[in-house]
């Protein structure tokens, strides 16, 4: 019986669960709305219990979660969602219920770190040593792989909260971030687009000025990440990036902002191969959780 893994993409709006061994061997998938912790975690456990056995030998679980998270293995609250404003979820132990239910290695990381791991293993970042994965949706999250390893640091990156220039004359919208107002996340998420233009992004035509402004803000953040990490690739995922017209706008703006300073052919000449969508598409998150599970099994990492 072949080994399979359970991946859980634990989002603030919905959870996606999958039993798979890799993107070409997916046995089962489900998605459901995020309700209370007890109910949502219970549904994920039920799904895994129901589907894993017939798929193969369940060998590990992976959880890629919205945050902020406690990822410090020496902490008494390792595996917890910490200070989220999401009602009912602050202080939730995500790890322990899965450990109790399955007694298997569990990989646990942020949703965006999981997605980056999935892209590294099976997607657009295969073979790279250094890249950035940025997701732009209801929030903006970023992950970095440096020297082939995910960056965690003291806690974990929170790239959405970068300070970027905000021209108030051009854009009087004050930003939505409850902590920082007009940080990148405050200015450029899906909800910020909807609030600024009084309509959801999905209803704004592709040639609207909204996308030029959106591309500008994302490009300011992306150039900051380029000068900070010198990555070999920037992968842009998340719901807002389904607006495919953003990619060429961002590529041009990033080149303009860098002004030729970084003399790398990938940036100067081949930027359409540098700033790219996820190779795993909309499944980057949950397949990333499967990759977390596989990594945990390889390391034999119990929580």
């Amino acid at each position: 019986m072949s080994r399979v893994f359970a991946g859980i993409e634990a989002g603030g709006t919905k959870w996606v669960c999958m039993i798979a061994s890799h993107p070409g061997d997916i046995h089962a998938t489900t998605r459901f709305a995020t309700t209370s912790p007890e109910e949502t975690i219970g549904k994920a456990i039920d799904f895994i219990e129901t589907h894993a056995q017939q798929a193969g030998e369940l060998s590990g679980l992976g959880i890629g979660s919205f945050g902020p998270l406690d990822l410090d293995r020496n902490s008494s609250t390792y595996g917890y969602i910490t200070s989220t404003p999401k009602s009912g979820w602050a202080g939730t132990d995500l790890l322990c219920p899965f450990q109790k239910a399955f007694n298997l290695p569990v990989g646990f990381d942020t949703d965006v770190n999981a997605a980056a791991l999935g892209e590294h293993r099976w997607g657009a970042a295969q073979g790279l040593t250094d890249f950035i994965y940025l997701t732009v949706g209801t929030g903006i999250g970023g992950a970095a792989v440096v020297n082939q390893r995910l960056v965690h640091g003291m806690i974990h990156p929170e790239m959405g909260h970068m300070n970027i220039p905000h021209d108030w004359d051009e854009d009087p919208f004050p930003g939505l971030c409850p902590y920082h107002g007009d940080c990148l996340e405050g200015l450029a998420t899906g909800p910020a687009i909807r609030s600024r233009w009084q309509q959801p992004g999905e209803e704004i035509p592709p040639d609207h000025a909204a996308w030029v402004l959106e591309a500008k803000y994302l490009s300011l953040g992306i150039t900051n990440l380029i000068v900070a990490f010198s990555p070999q690739s920037i992968i842009l995922g998340g719901g807002v990036m389904n607006q495919a017209q953003l990619f060429p706008l961002i590529r041009t703006k990033v080149q303009e902002l860098l002004g030729g300073y970084i003399s790398a052919p990938l940036i100067l000449e081949d930027i359409e191969q540098y700033i790219i969508p996820p190779g795993l598409g909309a499944q980057a998150g949950v397949l990333g959780a499967v990759a977390l599970a596989q990594q945990a099994a390889e390391k034999g990492t119990f929580p």
Copy 2:
């Protein structure tokens, strides 16, 4: 005879050379102005030839240089200074003359990466896995150590060129960066301070508004690095940081900008242990080059 190493801090204004095995065992040091490549490199080689033999067994060299540099070992111009505006230095092969002269392992990296390595080995970052070293002087350079390794990525970081908010009403100074105008480096280097206030920083009193503005710009850059890397420490070196009044101003401003979002005790409560000067002080650069030499000898890395 004990092993010693030669460190060369190759700056755009001056070079500092040292024969040492560690900060407690320094045998000789010299500094001289940066003139032509031939003359400057010649002086460094003369110094090492003159002083190494009596100090011990010379076992490696390290060069921490101003840049941009070609650090790609597979490139035909590995070891070169590439596109510097510094007259006569673009396209200079820094590595080959030292290799020819000594036929020993040579470590080669940016000046700021070298300083970070020195701080990691002997200075304020001992025992840390993830930290940032930022130097603020005639330019602004940044190095990151992630998972105990220096970040290089595609080329090397150029953190000084981050985009940060610039309030033109508060500060009409347009910035000095020839590529980006008012990027962090354009607004906050020593030359920017001198140009904005029409006097050198050394002559501006510590309670002058100039330092509040300087602290604000540096804090905007530092908070961007905190959310990008989640570092365990931020080390601030370079000539401008000799203005010791900047440290408390920056610490307070960084806390204000983060707005309590990163719930780390080091930031919320102990920030005077988080944003700190180099443990190796003004010798961080050249001792970092000695550390590069030692690392190259450990690895047996020839250029």
